[in-house]
Amino acid sequence: MRMIQPHYHAIARTAQDYERMAMSGVVAVVEPAFWAGFDRKYPETFLDYFRQISEFEPTRAAEYGIRHWCWVAVNPKEAENRELSRVVLDQMPEFFQKPTVLGVGETGLHKSTPNECEIFQAHVELAMKHDQLVLIHTPHLADKLHGTKKVLEILKGMNVKPERIWIDHVEEHTFAMARDAGYWVGMTLYPITKCSPRRAADLVDRYGYERVLINSSADWGPSDPFLIHECVLEMKRRGYSLNQLIDIFHNNPARFLGQNPKFDIEPIEVRPLNGAKPGSA
């Protein structure tokens, strides 16, 4: 089944991931800028990182027939360093011109400190000024509920287009508040610390999948890009049709990301060759 992996940290993964994803239906990955596991000291390090994900990584993915796009941002954890963040923010518009950069992300909050909030707001303002999409990271574990409320509070006070903003890492306690406010929501499947394939399927059972993106992130920590495939299997067991699964795992990412014309993968559906209307193939 064709699918799009909308949140994937390719630089932390080996080529074997690409090969196995290509063999199992992934046609595109989208790579947000994120925390490297340590706090970087120099703005230039970020700029080289942005070059890596916007110039080099697409060539690595292309070896396996996978399209690669990316986002640029100072991640919420390093946004605590206001001075460094401001210098990087000043350089980010240069990257908006690149053919595979879709927007600003992942910005957002980590511990919801005043510095983080200021830099998050600056990221969103920059994105709106340059008509970019926005990907927002919400905090981990015990910080998530408060941080998600804070993200929504900050956005509410700004002149934003909710349909161009994706609030990621929602779980049971944050799904409805983010989507009801008009934003796209993302469920990130992790082995331990975020959502699981079964719980994501439960949320789709309960709320439907309008403005929902399911991803498995995959980074340098315990993570597994194939958890989205596990989620597909779980939903198939629950009776979702092939076209519904394509709608969730391929078309929804195409719809959201396609708001930036650089992302040119169109929604699809499966039809019988005899021309009958699509059923539960």
Partner: protein
């Protein structure tokens, strides 16, 4: 033997994850019950008297008991054993 702090450091997040899965499974069962109650077509699968319901509740009670014996895993398996 691990120290108490090491047990918490090593297993807290994993246990949190496992408990969330249990909570989600019970929610799933509750939602399925509600759907079956309002849908005659699936009423035959409602299984209101399925003994596994009571067994799950009994097992959950064992988890929160603290009688000092530290034999919760053994007791769960005994609960789920043929006499």
């Amino acid at each position: 033997m691990l120290t108490p702090r090491k047990v918490l450091d090593d297993y807290f997040l994993e246990t949190r994850c496992q408990l969330l899965e249990i909570a989600a499974t019970l929610d799933r069962l509750g939602c399925a019950d509600q759907a079956a109650a309002s849908n005659a077509a699936s009423a035959g699968d409602a299984a209101p008297d399925d003994p596994r319901r009571a067994l799950l509740k009994a097992m959950l009670r064992v988890l929160v008991e603290d009688n000092g014996a530290n034999q919760r895993a053994q007791r769960l398996l005994e609960l789920h054993s043929e006499p």
